[in-house]
Assembly symmetry: C2
Homo-oligomer: 384 residues x 2
């Protein structure tokens, strides 16, 4: 198959910011692309060769979208899997494979998969309905505090809540969920694993994540993680093991906890380019989006090492601002060396909405961390 | 002016490979763009917000294109300058300024500009017609060998020829030209200078260029140039001086000769992102395309230093191949660490046509040079 010709056709389900960054790479290699998204204002609408407006969750829309493609991939995992199954049966290359997406799309199934494959993860209980959690608490089967997670369709910190009292359950979705033991941890870590269709597999360095305490969104992603080498090796090996078990073609972002006693537990995985890998655009020899394209086109994988230390700051909407977005003081962060803002192109901001990110790179990680702090204190995502 | 909003409109004259790479940056910052190009298959046709098909040399087309824009820039300098003059008079920000383009667009004027401003350059004579060169030779005013250069519209090695005998003049365009003394040189060097509208100015490191002996096209661009620090400083200072005299808003690529006795002479300049700066996408803290956008939007300039050593190899059409392009062995270069191909998206190849480039980065410049050689020997741009 000659990927670098107009005869080859790549489809992408989802036209959001991840897809947008994927399209930088398809443009770089002149790979023909078609994108499906429900929003006529999707960031991917330009930069792809063909844009189709439609629901990612509708069987007919997805099935129809897949016709005539050579490879179909995703930039968001909440898509109609039955359509993907049928397309795969029809002979289309669907990467990551629907089989893997089915495990990952449902957090209860994902957790059971870890248990089945001897992958360390926090203890949990599965519930078909939210109401069953209340029963379990009253029976003494479940104790506060615990972490409630919706089994499906959680994204960007939605669908996750720490529950310390019955009242915390109020207003949560009624459907399938899990209750996870709260893990006291030193660090949240992540490793991106790339695997092409021939099974060549490579891991990126371990990154360290700092979360915003209220919004449960990543505030800083730091590469390399400032942890000792033994812990880093352990995390990288565990991520590799998860990827070898799930065996998907594409990227797998593995989020982990480093416990107080330096155990590594898998928190959750994402089967695609991931926020924890955005630093790679500026810092890595091969950025995660190019690597994803290499995986799904079954090309040789690129080097995952970093040229320089990289830190990513998410640009999220300030509290108390809803409306047409303004990036206040963006000029002042552009004055700082090694600072690159990425603006996703969403026209409207609202509290905690992901509007972009900023990468800070430097030969020296401590300097990068200082600059990242300055960036964070300087730029504000507000409304007009 | 809020550049990072859909109210701001940037126009680009030319939709070729330089424009295409510029559009990665406008997408990254969600800057609204409109592109003018004569070809309906221009690489920029996707990734811009609006594409207009039309001639860059036609007054009415360019003038009309400029209406409603906030800033207008170029990715090729052969555009209708009278239209740009009028647009500037109307109040549009045209960067680089038509005044500067007028100096640069005509090589005779460019050379006179150097003379007028005490900028060292090879001796030359100006001729209104090619036939005057023959007269001058017969009069003894001009001696072989010399370098003939068309005054206008030379690009990618066209419009330049070494003349060693009268017969070498056969078939050359009849119009205005210059005859330049051949300079025996050790190295061809280049420095990109960035200047924003406030006058903030920064130079990139000196790069070293190796040319293909037949096609007169750059074969390798090596950053940093492997020359001694004194020569590098001299080249960087000279490039800065040229930029300070021309005083354009945007990038100025300054090509220079390092003579046998370590003098630096200016060869020619280009008022835009340049082939000699492509390495910056992978190697620099701020790549030349982002820097160009910073200049013309009057944003603070980014750091020009490199993260790692970078070498660029041009991908040009192999001799003896004309037709639908195939990038033979591209998979084999993807196996090499730190190697990034860029495919411009031209469907047809022909001998020496610029079809793309490959960047090789490495902490060690000697290793990068070895890999670059391997890349060059491996990938072939052929036809089906």
């Amino acid at each position: 198959m000659n990927y670098f010709s107009s005869e080859f056709k790549l489809g992408i389900l989802g036209g959001g910011q991840l897809g947008k960054m994927m399209l930088y790479e398809t443009r770089k290699w002149d790979v023909w692309t078609k994108v499906l998204d429900a929003s006529p204002e999707a960031p991917c609408k330009i930069s792809c060769n063909q844009f189709v407006k439609g629901s990612l969750l509708d069987y007919d829309t997805v099935y129809e979208f897949g016709q005539g493609l050579d490879v179909l991939t995703i930039e968001i995992e909440n898509v109609n899997l039955d359509a993907l199954d049928q397309l795969e049966k029809d002979g289309l290359k669907v990467f990551p494979q629907p089989r893997a997406l089915r495990i990952i799309q449902n957090k209860a199934k994902q957790k059971l998969f870890y248990v089945d494959h001897g992958i360390p993860t926090a203890d949990f209980q599965r519930f078909a309905y939210l109401s069953e959690i209340e029963d379990s608490i009253q029976n003494g089967g479940l104790k506060f505090p615990f972490v409630w997670k919706a089994a499906q369709f959680g994204y960007d910190g939605q669908g996750v809540k720490v529950v310390r009292a019955l009242s915390d359950l109020e207003g949560l979705p009624a459907g399938e969920c899990i209750a996870e033991t709260m893990i006291p941890f030193k660090n949240e870590l992540a490793v991106i694993v790339a695997r092409n269709d021939d099974g060549e597999i490579r891991t990126y360095p371990v990154v360290e994540m700092e979360f915003h305490p209220e919004a449960n969104q990543v505030e800083y992603v730091i590469c390399p993680a400032r942890i000792d080498d033994k812990v880093a090796s352990k995390a990288r090996e565990l991520a590799l093991k998860v990827a070898q078990k799930i065996k998907l073609t594409g990227l797998l972002a593995v989020e982990m906890f480093q416990t107080e006693d330096d155990k590594i537990l898998v928190n959750e995985v994402a089967p695609r380019p991931h926020n924890s890998g955005h630093y790679s655009i500026e810092a890595s020899y091969t950025n995660q989006f190019e690597q994803h394209i290499r995986c799904i086109l079954n090309l040789p994988l690129g080097a995952t090492e970093s040229k320089v230390a990289g830190i990513m700051v998410n640009l999220v909407g300030d509290e108390g601002h809803t409306g047409d977005v303004v990036y206040e003081n963006i000029n002042r962060i552009l004055e700082m060396d090694g600072v690159t803002p990425h603006i996703y192109g969403k026209k409207q901001t609202r509290p905690f909405r992901k509007m972009g990110h900023v990468t800070i790179v430097d030969q020296n990680i401590d300097q990068a961390r200082k600059t990242a702090q300055k960036v964070k204190e300087t730029i504000k995502v507000i409304s007009k």
